[in-house]
Symmetry: C2
């Protein structure tokens, strides 16, 4: 027997403990072409909130009573496939469970790893690659530009800021607490970080970037997006990566009331998800493993322990409980 988390109820507004339930399930021996894996750690990510709503989206909704899915890193404990040996580290979407048996399709063998397994859920995983493609491809960042990233202390935002610094840019970031702001400035080298709960967004942007913004990497939507549009330089780019400020809203909030400014300024707002750029995954892993092992990119994790901590970890994403990547360890 092994434990897993199912969706008990569809959350309305902010998700709560009772929306989730831990169940026990059988763990089968691997049939031909299958492997059995014990998860080492799993990821909780803001995008999962969208899948808890029953609506058409870029990924189908979770179903009530089914085990949730999401990124996880595990080790093979039994193999019935020639390509996988016991002890191999694998990355899969079979998160939210302690262990699983499954066909190898969609399961990636990590090969040699240069950092702890959990880094492959964060800086060297999906959030890191989201930052990388969003900033360099979607945002078309150029040396010496000024970049603002919201949700800057999060798994994606903290990497966005550091890549921008590596590229010789001035970097601004917003976060939701004084501790996070301090971490961004003192540890990650942000040029200007601020607590968005204190003071006016636009005043902060004007202080941190007197000449305006070339790129705004949007993780939150809402007021942040509107303030950033107001402060963009001509031909600025706005990668739209997430709208965490809105994920728990029952009614969709109004959009930015100044989108027409994009006309005269020649702004580009471009939405993306990381899977649109899967063709860059090899280049990303090579670059990011290099930056992480050299210490040029730092990461921090907020860790919850055990399958029983998974729901709390997820809920914590929306209450600002994490600095850097939110991880559940098994």
């Amino acid at each position: 027997m092994t434990k897993a988390v199912v969706l008990a109820e569809r959350p309305v507004g902010m998700p709560k403990q009772s929306d989730f339930a831990v169940i026990e399930t059988d763990l089968a021996d691997p049939a031909d072409g299958e492997i059995q894996v014990k998860n080492v750690c799993m990821s909780v990510d803001p995008y999962m909130r969208g899948r808890m709503v029953d609506r058409k989206s870029y990924v189908p909704p979770f179903q009530i009573g089914e085990v949730l899915t999401g990124g996880s890193i595990g080790q093979v404990t039994a193999s019935n496939h020639a390509g996988f040996a016991v002890g191999d580290y694998v990355s899969s979407h079979y998160g939210w469970r302690e262990a699983y048996t499954a066909p190898v399709e969609g399961i990636e063998k990590l090969g040699d790893i240069v950092a702890p397994p959990s880094a492959y859920l964060g800086a060297i995983g999906m959030p890191g690659m989201t930052a990388y493609v969003g900033l360099l491809e979607v945002g078309a960042l150029k040396q010496g530009e000024t970049v603002f990233v919201s949700g800057a202390a999060g798994a994606v935002g903290s990497i966005v800021g550091q890549i921008a610094k590596l590229k010789g840019c001035r970097v601004l970031g917003s976060a939701g607490s004084a501790d996070k702001v301090e971490w961004l400035q003192d540890e990650l080298g942000f040029d200007y970080a601020f607590n968005y709960k204190a003071g006016d967004l636009l005043s902060h942007l004007r202080e941190g970037a007197p000449d305006g913004l070339d790129v705004y990497f949007d993780n939150v939507g809402g007021d942040h997006l509107q303030a950033a549009i107001m402060h963009m330089r001509p031909f600025g780019r706005i990668p739209l990566c997430g709208a965490i400020s809105m994920y728990n809203d029952v009614e969709p909030p109004p959009g930015p009331n100044n989108l027409a400014m994009a006309i005269g300024l020649g702004l580009t707002l471009r939405g993306f998800i990381v899977s649109h750029f899967n063709h860059l995954s090899v280049q990303f892993r090579k670059d990011m493993e290099g930056w992480v092992t050299s210490g040029q990119i730092k990461y921090q994790e907020t860790v919850y322990e055990g399958i029983d901590g998974a729901a709390d970890a997820f809920i914590g994403l929306f209450t600002g409980a994490n600095t850097g990547k939110m991880i559940v360890n098994f």
Copy 2:
């Protein structure tokens, strides 16, 4: 003496006659490097509304009591510059006046023209080039795609739709009267045109484009933009060209409440103005003169007579008085 129109008051909401005044001014003889021009026709365009507000924008605001400016076509009546001869057609920003004397800087000699002068304020002028660069460069239109254009019976929209048809696309358009809808379908070859005042926008889009939209060319903003976002196909492009539905609003209306859909769909919203693409003006004129003389692109004008009709022509842009290009003839 010659007549010209000054801004008498800054319009609040919908512009009205008393916001404008016709004055008489002297017409000087051309000094060295100057020419004297009698205007043949002038343009009124929606973007001018923005310049009547005292705020920072991509073009500086008009000043109270000063003669307005805007596109005009005229003929040289006296020349003190070797490059210009009496009788030459010229395009300038010295609209809103019957005649002027000015240095030649910023005045373009049209050379041989293949259509009536007013066409160089419309299909072969700024609105036509706006359509051309917006659709082909900003919208990156591809053969066989499905395109929706709002304000489709206007000077820009009517050209957008016809270029898209020339490129083998399915074309939808919205306009504000049954007559305009009929013109779009019967004369311009739109595949599906509808009156946005009748019925629900999204229902119209679903009927006209059951498989969704690849490109939405936005001339109006507001509800149209929100409905189009709802119906875009993955990786769709939205050139943001104008927001005529909002130009007379005293308070900025909320933006689209579904902008977060751009994330999963990988949509691009990109604002532009025609001067960002001045490097394409030679290619544009060659292409468009060819399409107009061959009859592949048709245009229609709504004409007001004389300098006293200029304010009415301008106000008419916002009441739907024009089909195709709004022109003032002298």
